[in-house]
């Protein structure tokens, strides 16, 4: 076992633990912080997979902006009522998810996936190559995404605005 495999195992264990904490912790702020940890770990996996640019964007966009927005809303609303827990409901939900995970895992690990990666070039995943494919092959989706973000901004302002 070389170093990257050990690193992968360590990160996956931590990732699964923090994801479980997102779902099972009672306090909303604790959930949000566990999610930040999970997103950061996923960013490390991205960097391990030769996608440093996407990894940094992951930290910048998810941990730096989206999760701060979540925390901002949590503190803004400051919900105090604790949510009711129904054991049967939790059992059903967990069983369904376990089934889903098992079937997905069985589907995905049918041995057809390549075990060894295609050797990547030196510049694979660098900002230049990413930008090149973003602005040549994917120009139209890129432009449409900007429209989507504009619509989201307007929608958020309209929704959250207090009536005068």
């Amino acid at each position: 076992m070389d170093a990257s495999v050990i690193l992968f195992y360590v990160i996956s264990v931590l990732l699964v633990l923090s994801s479980l904490m997102v779902v099972f912790l009672r306090n909303v702020v604790h959930c949000a912080l566990a999610l930040v940890v999970a997103l950061f770990l996923i960013a490390i996996l991205f960097v391990m997979l030769h996608a440093p640019m996407v990894g940094v964007l992951q930290v910048l966009v998810y941990a730096g902006a989206i999760m701060v927005l979540f925390l901002f809303v949590i503190m803004f609303l400051n919900p105090t009522a604790s949510e009711p827990r129904r054991k049967l409901w939790w059992g059903f939900g967990s069983a369904a998810a376990l089934l889903l995970a098992a079937s997905l895992a069985a589907l995905l690990s049918n041995g057809e996936a390549p075990a060894d990666p295609v050797t990547a070039t030196e510049t694979f995943g660098s900002p230049e190559t990413l930008a090149k494919s973003l602005f040549t092959d994917f120009v139209l989706p890129f432009e449409i995404t900007s429209v989507l973000l504009l619509v989201a901004i307007i929608g958020a302002v309209v929704l959250a605005k207090r009536e005068p």
């Binding site: 999610l35 996407v54 809303v73 919900p79 939790w90 996936a113």
Partner: protein, 100 residues
């Protein structure tokens, strides 16, 4: 080198954990966070495939997913705020009335 399967199974597990959160949590904000978790599990498969097939397309798609996730979080939280103003609760079970 880690085989591709490992990454796929890891992301399947994370996705399933996110599904649990969406199904059983009774707090809208945590439900939204679980959706973010599921999106990230999918992103992980995209990046893993992009590495193992040496194709940049996976990484580009992840960037679009991030943009969509940002938009989704913004709109979702705006809805949460306006619902909370009316109903003083974050429990999705309390939000089944069409009118208030």
């Amino acid at each position: 080198m880690v085989p591709l399967d490992y990454y796929l199974i890891l992301s399947a597990v994370i996705f399933a954990i996110g599904v649990i959160g969406v199904l059983v949590r009774r707090n809208l904000i945590v439900v939204l966070m679980s959706i973010e978790l599921m999106l990230n599990a999918v992103n992980l498969t995209f990046i893993a495939f992009s590495r193992y097939l040496a194709s940049m397309q996976g990484q580009v798609v992840v960037i679009f997913v991030m943009a969509v996730a940002a938009a989704e979080a913004v709109i979702g939280l705006a809805i949460v705020i306006s619902v909370f103003r009316h109903r003083r609760t974050l429990d999705p079970q309390e939000m089944q009335l069409l009118k208030w």
